[in-house]
């Protein structure tokens, strides 16, 4: 009987900032074609004179993902993970929960034991709805 090899897929969400010089280079095309990664573009802001920003999610085998991330960095594209762009100021947050029902992807929830806010960055699509719903201005999105 043939032994089935279990392939473990890794997901990573990030924000890519393209300087104006390389904004027209097909980086996402290469991530798919050359690195075999599954690419999901969640948000995009492109301006040929100022560059562009993409919120993307990459999925693939660990080795492919690491190679893809190295390619991005070598191409002089700035790479940041979500916690650096979606900033949750825990000092200002009072765990009121106003953001919980607004989030379209349920990235925000109140812990059932402590009733403190939990932010699951892996689900976040950087829509910014939580920013406008927060009465304490405890969430900021730099995108």
């Amino acid at each position: 009987m043939e032994k089935l090899r279990e392939i473990k897929m890794v997901r990573k969400k990030m924000i890519l900032t393209f300087p104006p010089k390389i904004v027209e280079e097909p980086v996402t095309y290469k991530l798919i074609k050359e690195f075999g990664l599954w690419v999901n573009i969640l948000r995009a802001k492109i301006d040929p004179s100022n560059g562009g920003k993409l919120v993307i999610e990459l999925k693939g085998e660990k080795k492919q993902l690491e190679a893809g991330l190295k390619f991005i960095q070598d191409a002089k594209v700035d790479l940041e993970f979500l916690k650096q762009e979606v900033i949750w100021n825990k000092e200002k947050c009072t765990d009121c929960g106003a953001c919980v029902s607004i989030c379209p992807v349920k990235a925000l929830s109140l812990n059932k034991e402590t009733f403190k806010l939990q932010f699951n960055y892996e689900e976040c699509v950087v829509c910014g709805y939580c920013v406008e719903s927060c009465p304490m201005k405890a969430i900021e999105v730099k995108f």
Binding site: T94, D95, C96, G97, A98, C99, V100, S101, I102, K106, S109, L110, T114, F115, K116, Y129, E132, S133, P135, M136, K137
Partner: protein
């Protein structure tokens, strides 16, 4: 109804460091295990807590006299207008007053929070001048230390059992209940449920004028019934009960308060408000009182109200209990929708625990009300004549 203990007996135990105190959450399993009577024998005080937006809040400040003196007619603190029509240098800053330069993003509530944080606040005041108060204007800076009294005075706080807000229209609406998404996209509510002060004493048997309370981190008092105080008890055919509508007017010394328990908030499209932390101790004077403080979230009901209807009386879309609301989802007209509290249950728990600690350590004595709050009052509307 047999009396288990009096205020005086409880206070003696507090001074002796022997008071048995639990929070309104902790009492629930105790009553489930031992029953009402036994729990009422053993427990002296149950503490409650809440931390939610309470728009009817203000600070009364006495600025002190300048040289030459001014009888202030109009005043602004950080470009937020205060009310100055009370004597020469007394002013009142209300939480929902917006800034004249920063729109809805800064308001009276922020001035109150900035004062507690000991920040410098810009004062501008003008007057027509009188013979005895010749000065016509002044511009200077004040802070919490430089002023005389800074009295937190909130005409309507602790609203008992506010309703749930939803929106059945096709457009998103910005309300004091937060952002309500179209077509029943979400629901918001504002209470600490089984920890809530007035939901633990819905008939005002122990809470009244003069009751000492935890207010914003300091010891304050209930000054009067709150505005719009109109307690109601409604039942439906399924035997569910709603007690709602009571409010409290509270007072305390702003100089003793902390931004851990008083914060300014901004509701998009609505404006600023003050989030106030209040904790009220309930003395277990009888087993009747124990019956009420043992109330659980699944027993406390409220109504779902459609905020897209622009009328004073809005339609009710049904009843729901706080266990359902705190679960994160409720069912409205066959649709499952996510819920958001606006009142922080985590903070309410922290306040009830802190109050419990202060009573156990002997630094917080209970005050028997000097006058009971009315329980039969009707809420009148403003008619156009």
């Amino acid at each position: 109804m047999t009396t288990k203990r009096t205020f005086e007996q409880i206070n003696k135990k507090i001074k002796d460091g022997k008071a048995v105190v639990v929070t309104a959450e902790e009492i629930i399993p105790i009553v489930q295990e031992k029953g009402i009577e036994k729990a009422a024998e053993e427990i002296d005080v149950v503490t409650t807590g809440t931390f939610g937006p309470m728009c009817s809040s203000s600070v009364i400040i006495n600025l002190g006299h300048s040289d030459p003196p001014i009888r202030i007619q109009k005043a602004w603190l950080n470009d937020v207008e205060a009310y100055a029509g009370i004597a020469a240098v007394d002013i009142i800053m209300g939480a929902t007053q917006p800034s004249e330069t920063h729109g809805m993003f800064y308001g009276g509530a922020h001035v109150i929070e900035d004062l507690i944080s000991k920040k410098r606040i810009k004062l501008k005041a003008i007057s027509q001048g009188t013979d005895c108060y010749p000065r016509k204007e002044i511009e200077t800076y004040i802070n919490l230390e430089s002023i005389n009294q800074a009295i937190l005075f909130n005409p309507r706080n602790c609203y008992q059992n506010y309703n749930v807000g939803v929106n059945t229209s096709n457009k998103k609406i910005n309300t004091y209940m937060g952002i309500l998404l179209p077509k029943l996209g979400n629901a918001s509510f504002s209470t600490s449920g089984q920890l809530s002060p007035l939901l633990n004493d819905p008939k005002f048997m122990t809470i009244g004028i003069g009751t000492r309370i935890f207010l914003g981190g300091a010891q304050g008092f209930i000054a009067w019934e709150g505005t719009q105080h109109s307690p109601e008890f409604i039942s439906n055919e399924e035997g569910m009960q709603i007690s709602k509508g009571g409010t409290l007017s509270v007072i305390g010394n702003l100089k003793e308060m902390s931004t851990d328990y008083i914060r300014a908030a901004v509701f998009k499209g609505y404006g600023t408000t003050l989030v106030v932390g209040i904790g009220i101790p309930i003395p277990i004077l009888s087993s009747d009182i124990m019956k009420y403080v043992a109330v659980r979230n699944e027993e406390i009901y409220t109504q779902i109200i459609d905020y897209s209807v622009p009328h004073a009386q809005r339609p009710s879309l049904g009843w729901v209990n706080y266990k359902q609301l705190f679960s994160g989802e409720i069912s409205v007209q066959g649709k499952t929708i996510p819920t958001s509290p606006l009142s922080s249950y985590a903070k309410a728990r922290e306040i009830a625990q802190k109050l419990k600690k202060e009573i156990v350590e002997g630094s917080f004595l209970l005050q028997k009300p000097i006058k009971k709050l009315p329980i039969k009052e009707k809420f009148k509307s403003l008619l156009e004549i």
